[in-house]
């Protein structure tokens, strides 16, 4: 990838970088502890506090997949 001029075409510049902002969502969700420090609604007997944070593991992973597919398109 060195010096062949194909690296980072201009189209993948500023616009695609905005997609990185999606990655701030998990931080905002986790900082807002008051929104999830509660027992109800529970799911399958598991209090909200536990299943909600567990769910964010998967949401966080999904957001990374989305951003990766968009910003790293065509890269190895």
């Amino acid at each position: 990838m060195q010096g062949d001029g194909s690296r980072r075409p201009q189209s993948r510049g500023a616009a695609s970088r905005l997609w990185y902002l999606l990655l701030l969502i998990p931080y905002a969700a986790m900082f807002w502890v008051a929104s999830y420090n509660r027992a109800e609604p529970s799911w399958a007997g598991i209090p909200f506090f536990y299943w909600y944070q567990l769910l964010w593991i998967w949401i966080g992973s999904a957001l990374i997949v989305i951003v990766h597919l968009i910003v790293n398109r065509g890269r190895t």
Binding site: N37, A39, L54, I64, R75
Partner: protein
């Protein structure tokens, strides 16, 4: 406790199998092990899948698997900070570490300290990063041994005096030997087995144990109300629940600065392998969350009240919880599988940590300050010896020094390692900071953080108060802010005073 022979035999067979695997790994993707980049980084040839196993085995350590549920068992909801911690770590890894990987590959860097040396042209700042990494890693290795120690005790293997530590010593000699011969290839190969065992054990546990205990509602009903949720934030709190989320965020920022994480990242074969792993590693976070819940299952199963575990609980307060739960709930042979998963789970990170510390010592202290003209073969040989010294040190620590010291030092390790963030991570994006300002910021962060932690009796959260408002914060996080403030204030002062700047050997196109 009496020896459970079935469990012990299964345990020994599995342990023997990975030992053989560790030695055979020397042939895997064969390289010239007289080169440090081959021994200590496996030539940087691991693709997405191997990197996933390696980093999963490396970051989610045996100590984590014992300590997180033990903290749930003892302290309750606060221990679940491990989950937002892992939620916050991977977006950060995704953005930052492909960049670090790329610049490292262009310039042949094998440690974070190498990068700092090249970027700032400052051997002293690089030395600070290297020393911090080595010292933060040592107690972490020692704690991996605790995982092995606890399961050996749970198997009923005990002896008087130093004989009691004999199984631990044997395990460690094996570990030291295959790390010496195979380098990073050994833990990478073993990680695959370890992860398979852990997944099987945990999935069985989260299905079978609730069935025996009458479902998840019964389990959570057995948890005292005070442990079920976080204590409400007081009205005087400046930011609600700052203790909980700074603990998670600070831990997330610190994790990949640890040398063992850095070694895992730099051994990947491509930039994309890092990006993809940032998306795939959360699978292990899910596993960790399930493991955390085992702490509550142990409460519901009443292992703290069962007379057969009384001595075990006394010897390993809290940490006995998960092994005792397995014994109470699983058939003997599966107890052996689960315990082997924990013990083998200790070998992988302990091996990688000792390799990472050896890389730092050899590349950034020995070659930089002691023997600049060493040949590549001498360099690799030095690293192999140092990996032995590091592990031996950890063993001595665990056998002769009270466990609480290792735990306190590991807590301090987090406070220390995070102080390298401005130099290493910000350095990937800008050279705005003066290298001397970074060095002083690092020092201020380390000294203040150590003092704050000691004041709090080595608990992680410091009760900051600002103008009558409380802002309890994870010490590592609070002192990182201080570190940044110092570096930001001093940089213009050093510039104005005309203090010379080091040479930057990296080029813009090296960052990709």
């Amino acid at each position: 406790m009496p020896i459970d022979w079935t469990a012990l035999i299964v345990f020994i067979l599995l342990f023997a199998a990975v030992t053989i695997l560790g030695f055979l790994a020397v042939r895997w993707r064969r390289g010239d092990l007289d080169l440090l980049s081959e021994w200590g980084l496996a030539g940087g040839r691991f693709g997405t899948v191997i990197t996933w196993f390696l980093l999963g085995g490396d970051l989610y350590t045996a100590y984590t698997f014992i300590a997180v549920p033990a903290l749930m068992f003892g302290a309750g909801a606060i221990a679940f900070f491990a989950v937002p911690y892992t939620v916050m770590v991977y977006p950060f890894v995704f953005v930052v570490f492909p960049r670090l990987w790329t610049v490292a590959r262009h310039n042949g860097y094998i440690t974070a300290s190498d990068f700092v040396r090249g970027r700032y042209g400052s051997r002293w700042l690089a030395l600070a990063v290297a020393v911090t990494g080595i010292i933060a890693t040592m107690p972490y290795i020692a704690l991996q041994l605790v995982g092995i120690q606890v399961v050996i005790a749970a198997l009923g293997v005990a002896g008087a005096g130093w004989m009691g530590d004999l199984p631990l010593i044997i395990a460690f000699v094996i570990l030291a030997a295959f790390t010496y011969t195979s380098g990073l290839r050994a833990p990478a190969a073993i990680a695959i087995v370890k992860d398979a065992l852990i997944w099987v054990t945990v999935i069985a546990a989260v299905i079978a144990i609730p069935l025996q205990l009458g479902g998840y509602d019964k389990i959570f009903a057995a948890v005292p109300a005070a442990k079920l949720l976080l204590a409400p934030s007081p009205p005087t709190a400046l930011i609600p629940y700052s203790g909980y989320w700074t603990l998670a965020l600070g831990s997330a920022l610190a994790l990949f600065l640890y040398p063992h994480a850095m070694t895992g990242v730099l051994s990947a074969s491509s930039r994309g392998a890092i990006s993809r792993n940032a998306a795939l590693l959360p699978a292990y976070s899910f596993l960790l969350a399930l493991i955390a819940l085992l702490g509550f299952m142990a409460l519901a199963a009443g292992v703290d009240k069962a007379p057969q575990f009384a001595d075990f609980a006394k010897a390993y307060p809290r940490n006995f919880a998960v092994p005792a739960l397995f014994i109470a709930m699983f058939p003997s042979w599966f107890v052996g599988v689960g315990f082997a998963a924990i013990a083998i789970g200790a070998l992988v990170p302990a091996a990688i940590m000792s390799i990472a510390a050896a890389n730092l010592w050899t590349r950034n202290i020995y070659r930089e300050f002691i023997n600049p003209t060493c040949t590549p073969a001498q360099e690799a040989q030095m690293a192999k010896w140092v990996s032995l010294v590091v592990k031996f040190g950890a063993l001595v620590f665990i056998v002769f020094i009270p466990l609480q010291y290792a735990i306190n030092l590991q807590l301090l390790g987090g406070v220390w390692i995070i102080q390298t963030l401005p130099a290493v991570i910000i350095g990937l994006y800008t050279r705005w900071f003066h290298q001397r300002a970074l060095l002083i910021g690092w020092l201020v962060g380390i000294v203040t953080g150590t003092w704050m932690a000691a004041m709090q009796g080595f608990t992680p959260i410091y009760p900051l108060t600002i103008a009558g408002y409380s802002l309890p914060s994870y010490t590592a996080f609070a002192t990182l802010i201080l570190n940044f403030a110092v570096a930001i204030v001093l940089t213009p002062i050093f510039n104005a005073a005309g203090a010379p700047r080091g040479q930057d050997e990296t080029l813009v196109e090296h960052y990709g």
